[in-house]
C-alpha cells in the first residue's frame, strides 16, 4: 500500500466518500461490453446455479440450472451459456488491419476489435476459469456427449481467464478491481471486495455502503441465509421455479455493473491505454487463429518451458503496466516521487550543442543542470527519462546537494534527431519544469528458452508424448 493511496483512504473516511487515486482511466472500456454475473451452488466445486448476462443494459438474459441436483441440467445450462457467450466472443473476428513487423519488412494481420467481458469481482473471474477447466475437455462423442459449443466455451473461458492474469489486460475485467484502481474508499481492502459496498462508496458515500453490505451478494458465492431460507425450500420441489428469486437477487448487481462501466467511461482515457488494448487485440487474434487451425484445448497445466515463458511475459507486462500508468497519470507518478524514484525539477543551465568527440565519431550529447527540492535517490551513472520526452535518455553525471536544493547534472542522448544539431525543442530549455524518473518504458527483450523437447532435467526433462490428449 503506497502512502498516497493510504492517505486517500484516510481522506475518504473523513469525507464519507471515495476519493480518486487516478486522474485518468487506466483500462480500455469497450463500446459493447458483455456483462456476465455468474452464480455458483454452495458446497460443490464450481457447480453453476445461474448467470445473468448480456451486452445491453435493458436486455439482461437470465440462465438458470433448472434443478441443481441434476447433473444433466448443469450441462444443459453450460450449453445455453455457450450459445449466449460464444457468438459474442467470435463476433469480433471480422475486419482486420495490417501491422508492420520486423522493422516494416513484413506485415501481420490483427482484428480491429476484440471482446470485453465484465464480471463483478475476482471470484467471478475465478469461477469462469474453473468453468473453463471443467468444460474444455468435454467430449462431443462417447458416453456423455455434449454439444460442440460446450468445449468451445471452455476454451474461450480459459483464454479469457488466463489473459485476466496479465497486468493491464482488458479482455476480462472485474469491476471490483477496475473501480478499486481508480478510487480509494474509507474502508479496508477486504471490505472493498464486496462490490455493492465499493460501488456505494463511490456513488453515494459511506452510509449507503454500510447498507449495501447487507444487500444482495454479487456472486459467485451465495449468501448462506439465502441458501437456507429461499433456495433450499424451492429446490425441494420437483420442478423448482427459481427464475424469479434469482432475477431479483442479481438485478441490483446488474444495474451497478453497467453504472460502473459508465462511471469509468466518463474518465478521460490514459494515453497508453490504447497500446495495451492493441496487445489485447493481438492476443485475441492469435487465439482465434489457434481455434481455426489447431483447436486443441489448453493443457491442464503448462509444461516447464511454457510456464517459464508465461511467467516472463507476466513479469514484463507487470513492469510495463506500472511504468505506463505512472507516465499517463501524474497522481500515480506522485507515488514514485514520494519514494524518490522520480522528482520534479527546474532546468537551471543548458548546453544544447555539446558534442562528445572522444569516440570514433562525434556525437551530440547536450548537458543540462536541474535543481530540485524533492528527495533525490539516484546515483551518478543512473539513466533517467522524462514522460514528456520518453525516447530521450538522461544519464546522471553528478548529484550535488546544496542548501537551496539538489543540483543534478545530466547528459542527454536520443530523441534529438539524426544531425549533430538538436531539433528545436528537443533539449529542455532553461526555466522549464521537468519530471525525471528512473522508470523506463524501454523495450525488454524476451529471454531465450529451450525447445520443450530439450527441457533440462532440472525442470523435469522433456515432457512425455501425450497420445491421450483429449480432442475437443
Amino acid at each position: 500500500m503506497s502512502t498516497l493511496v493510504a492517505l486517500a483512504r484516510a481522506h475518504a473516511l473523513a469525507a464519507g466518500r471515495a476519493q480518486p487515486i487516478a486522474t485518468v482511466r487506466h483500462l480500455h472500456v469497450h463500446d459493447r461490453p458483455l456483462v456476465l454475473i455468474p452464480l455458483a451452488m454452495a458446497g460443490e466445486a464450481n457447480a453453476p446455479l445461474a448467470a445473468l448476462l448480456g451486452d445491453d443494459v435493458s436486455r439482461p438474459r437470465l440462465l438458470v440450472v433448472g434443478q441443481p441436483r441434476n447433473r444433466d441440467e448443469r450441462f444443459a445450462f453450460t450449453a445455453d451459456l455457450a450459445d449466449a457467450v460464444v457468438p459474442y466472443l467470435e463476433s469480433f473476428a471480422g475486419a482486420t488491419e495490417a501491422v508492420p513487423v520486423d522493422r516494416g519488412r513484413d506485415v501481420r494481420h490483427r482484428f480491429v476489435d476484440a471482446p470485453q467481458v465484465w464480471v463483478p469481482n475476482p471470484g467471478g473471474a475465478d469461477f469462469l476459469r474453473l468453468l473453463g477447466r471443467s468444460t474444455r475437455f468435454r467430449r462431443v462423442d462417447g458416453d456423455h456427449p455434449v454439444p460442440p459449443s460446450v468445449p468451445r466455451l471452455g476454451q474461450w473461458l480459459t483464454f479469457l481467464a488466463s489473459s485476466a492474469e496479465v497486468p493491464g489486460s482488458s479482455l476480462l475485467v472485474n469491476a471490483v478491481q477496475a473501480l478499486g484502481s481508480h478510487w480509494a474508499t474509507g474502508q479496508s481492502a477486504a471490505e472493498d471486495a464486496h462490490f455493492g459496498s465499493l460501488f456505494a462508496w463511490i456513488t453515494d458515500g459511506a452510509r449507503a455502503a454500510q447498507e449495501a453490505e447487507n444487500g444482495p451478494v454479487a456472486g459467485p458465492a451465495t449468501d448462506p441465509a439465502f441458501d437456507n431460507e429461499v433456495l433450499a425450500p424451492l429446490i425441494a420441489s420437483p420442478s423448482p421455479a427459481m427464475a424469479g428469486v434469482l432475477r431479483d437477487l442479481l438485478t441490483p448487481t446488474w444495474e451497478r455493473m453497467w453504472k460502473s462501466i459508465a462511471l469509468l467511461r466518463e474518465l478521460p482515457v490514459g494515453a497508453r491505454v490504447g497500446l495495451r488494448w492493441d496487445s489485447d487485440r493481438d492476443a485475441y487474434s492469435a487465439f482465434v487463429e489457434h481455434l481455426t487451425e489447431d483447436g486443441t484445448p489448453q493443457p491442464r497445466r503448462d509444461g516447464a518451458v511454457a510456464a517459464a515463458a508465461r511467467l516472463q511475459r507476466l513479469e514484463n507486462a507487470a513492469a510495463r503496466y506500472a511504468v505506463q500508468r505512472a507516465f499517463d497519470d501524474p497522481l500515480v507518478m506522485a507515488d514514485h516521487r514520494l519514494t524518490g524514484a522520480a522528482f520534479g525539477a527546474e532546468v537551471t543551465l543548458a548546453k544544447a550543442d555539446r558534442i562528445d568527440d572522444s569516440g570514433k565519431r562525434p556525437v551530440l550529447r547536450p548537458r543540462i543542470m536541474v535543481t530540485t527540492t524533492e528527495t533525490v535517490r539516484v546515483e551518478p551513472g543512473a539513466s533517467l527519462t522524462s514522460p514528456a520526452r520518453p525516447s530521450q535518455k538522461a544519464k546522471v553525471i553528478s548529484v550535488t546537494p546544496g542548501p537551496a536544493g539538489t543540483d543534478v547534472l545530466l547528459e542527454l542522448s536520443g530523441g534529438m534527431g539524426r544531425k549533430l544539431v538538436a531539433e528545436p525543442g528537443s533539449v529542455p530549455a532553461v526555466g522549464e519544469r521537468l519530471l525525471l524518473t528512473t522508470l523506463s518504458e524501454a523495450y525488454r527483450p524476451g529471454a531465450a528458452f529451450p525447445d520443450p523437447a530439450e527441457t533440462p532435467w532440472t525442470h523435469g526433462g522433456p515432457p512425455p508424448h501425450r497420445e491421450d490428449l483429449p480432442v475437443a
Partner: protein, 341 residues
C-alpha cells in the same frame, strides 16, 4: 459460583473447537475475544443482542455435501478411506457422537486407546489442550491413523483439489486446524509419537472421488505453540475484572455494552471473516487507521487515528518528536496529491 460462570450468566457454555483456537492464535492480542471464548460465551447471540449481528451461517448445501463426502468415505468399515490412504488394514473405532455428559469418559477412552498403540483408525476422539490457562476439550471430526510407531492426523474436508491445486485459504485453515489436533495429541502422547505430517482427504477435481495429500504442518505448529504461550493468562485477567462485569444475555443492552467496554479489542479487518463480534468491534474502531487494514496503517506511519493523520498531513498540527518522520512523509504526500489533482 466461579468468576467464569458469573461472566457467562445462565446460558450454557460454548466449547472451544479447533477453529476457535486457530482464530484465537490469529489475533493473540485481542483480550475481548480471549475472555469471551474462555468464558464460553455465545458470541453469535451476544452480537445479535447488542444489535451488531454478523453473517456466520453455513449453507445447508455445503453442509450436506460435506456430510455426504464423509459418510461415503466411512461407509463399509471405511473401505474408501482405507483405499485412499493406501493399502492399509487395521481396526476402526468410532468413539461416538459428541455429548456433554460423556466428556471425561470419552477422553479417558481416547487416551487409553491411543496409548495402546494398536494399528487402526480412531474416529471422534476427544482431546484436551491448555489454552490460556484453561483446559479446553477439542472434539475433532478427525481420524487418528496409527501407522507403525507414529500417529497421523487425517482431516476430511469437502473443498475440491483441482489439478493438484486447491483454494489457498481453505488449505491453510485446514492446516492450522490439523496443527491444533497434532499439538493436542503431542501434549498427550509425547512429541515423537505424533507425526508432523497430516493427511488431508478431499474430493478430486469435479467429482466426489477422494484424494489424499500430505501436508507438513511444522510451521503451523511452531506458530501455534508460540502464540499459545504468548496468550496472556486469561484466568488472571478474568479475576481482575470488576464484579459487575457480566455477559448474561438476560441483561439490558447498555449493561452488556459497558461490560464489553472493559475488554480491550484489537480490531483488524481480518476479524470480519473469523470473529462473531467483528461488526461491533469495527463500529467501535471507526476513525482509527487500524480499521483500514494493517498495510494502510503502516503506510500512514503507524499513526493511531485518521484525524491525526489528516491534521499532520495538512500541517494543521505540529508533530511530536516521535511523529516527525511520519509527519514529513504525510506532508510530502499531501503536497504531491494536491499538485496532481
Amino acid at each position: 459460583m466461579s468468576q467464569v460462570d458469573r461472566l457467562r450468566g445462565s446460558a450454557p457454555g460454548k466449547r472451544h473447537n479447533a477453529r476457535t483456537v486457530a482464530a484465537l492464535t490469529g489475533n493473540p492480542g485481542c483480550t475481548r475475544r480471549a475472555v469471551l471464548d474462555a468464558a464460553g460465551i455465545d458470541k453469535v447471540r451476544l452480537a445479535e443482542r447488542i444489535g451488531f449481528p454478523g453473517a456466520f451461517g453455513q449453507s445447508r448445501f455445503a453442509l450436506a455435501r460435506g456430510n455426504a463426502f464423509e459418510a461415503m468415505l466411512k461407509a463399509d468399515d471405511c473401505a474408501l478411506l482405507r483405499s485412499t490412504l493406501g493399502a492399509y488394514v487395521g481396526g476402526y473405532e468410532d468413539l461416538g457422537a459428541d455429548e456433554d455428559d460423556t466428556l471425561s469418559a470419552r477422553h479417558a477412552r481416547t487416551r487409553s486407546m491411543l496409548n495402546d498403540g494398536a494399528e487402526g483408525l480412531l474416529d471422534h476422539p476427544l482431546l484436551t489442550l491448555e489454552v490460556a490457562g484453561q483446559t479446553v476439550f477439542l472434539e475433532p471430526d478427525l481420524i487418528a491413523y496409527q501407522n507403525g510407531s507414529q500417529l497421523q492426523v487425517v482431516e476430511i474436508k469437502s473443498f475440491a483439489i483441482l489439478d493438484g491445486q486447491a483454494d489457498g485459504t481453505a488449505v491453510s485453515a485446514a492446516a492450522v486446524q490439523a496443527a491444533v489436533y497434532v499439538l493436542a495429541l503431542r501434549r498427550m502422547l509425547g512429541d515423537d509419537r505424533v507425526s508432523h505430517e497430516v493427511v488431508l482427504v478431499c474430493p478430486e477435481n469435479f467429482s466426489l472421488q477422494p484424494v489424499a495429500v500430505v501436508l507438513d504442518v511444522r510451521k503451523q505448529l511452531s506458530t501455534l505453540r508460540r502464540q499459545l504461550s504468548r496468550l496472556a493468562s486469561v484466568s488472571s485477567l478474568i479475576s481482575s475484572l470488576p464484579d459487575d462485569v457480566s455477559f448474561d444475555l438476560a441483561q439490558p443492552v447498555p449493561a452488556l455494552l459497558s461490560s464489553l467496554d472493559t475488554l480491550t479489542a484489537r480490531y483488524a479487518p481480518e476479524c470480519l471473516s473469523t470473529c462473531e463480534m467483528s461488526v461491533y468491534c469495527r463500529h467501535e474502531a471507526g476513525g482509527r487507521t487500524a480499521a483500514l487494514g494493517r498495510p494502510v496503517r503502516d503506510a500512514l506511519g503507524g499513526l493511531e487515528t485518521v484525524d491525526e493523520v489528516l491534521a499532520l498531513a495538512s500541517g494543521a498540527r505540529e508533530p511530536d518528536p516521535a511523529q516527525a518522520e511520519a509527519a514529513a512523509l504525510l506532508r510530502a504526500a499531501q503536497r504531491l496529491r494536491d499538485e496532481a489533482l
